[in-house]
Symmetry: C2
Subunit: 136 residues, 2 copies
DNA sequence: CTGTATCCCAAAAGATACTG
DNA sequence: CAGTATCTTTTGGGATACAG
């Protein structure tokens, strides 16, 4: 039936293959690996306290109201963010990281710091790449 | 990144505000915070050696050749990945992480492991959220 | 103030075909 | 094998209006 030498691939637990084919984990990683998600998590996490909607909005460069609301909803649904609405007039809504969200923030903040630290190095690599491509 | 003119706010260095308004770093963080970027980096990093194009392609669930090529190009340009073409027939191309890329992988792998570990907890949070929203 | 609801466009991504 | 080129579809995301 098959002409392939290896019809069924065995994936050993704990190997690199185990990660990539663990679809639920890949799906969650894909969800986290999103521009507005990481910026929102970093904003809430680095402030370290509950923030009002308008405050978050001001702190994230270029985010639209639609995307911020959408992202906060998703993070709330995933249990990363706790939303607290105070029924004053006008209404006041605060967002803060849950313990789960704080755990993720601990990792994302390292990525953020890495990015800040390596910005120059990456810029140089880009300039070098573009120069080579233009020259030849 | 920001198109609007910002009022001259005073931002103390080292504060949480310093991070979010350091636009080059935010831009780089936004670039990294991408589904195919993180999956590609995790695949290359966890394999720990050079991988052929077709090998990478097989290891990333659902990636199209267009997106994989585009992502690898971007990572190469940013200095994260080294591309080596061997002019055999047919051609053989290998990709591997640079030291810069390995540094980032060290952080992304932790995010990946976190995602694998917290998948169940996130699923529960989603189920709880959806139940509450349906009931009321 | 904090949203929700539309409309709409641009960009991202998938599918397919073709090539060195 | 490892792409490139082109086309189509889908999604992301901005603008606007409006409501609790």
């Amino acid at each position: 039936m098959t002409t392939k030498a290896k019809p069924a691939r065995q994936i050993e637990p704990g190997t690199y293959e185990a990660y990539m084919h663990d679809c639920p984990a890949v799906a969650l990683l894909s969800t986290i690996s999103n521009r507005w998600v990481s910026l929102t998590m970093c904003t809430l996490g680095s402030y370290g306290d509950a923030m009002r909607y308008s405050h978050i909005s001001r702190e994230i460069p270029g985010v639209s109201q639609k995307m911020l609301t959408q992202t906060l909803r998703m993070l709330e649904r995933d249990g990363m963010v706790k939303r607290t609405a105070t029924p004053t007039v006008p209404v006041r809504v605060d967002y803060e990281l849950t313990p789960l969200g704080q755990g993720l923030y601990g990792l994302l903040s390292q990525v953020r710091d890495w990015a800040a630290d390596k910005t120059d190095e990456v810029d140089e690599a880009r300039a070098h790449y573009d120069t080579r491509k233009t020259d030849q």
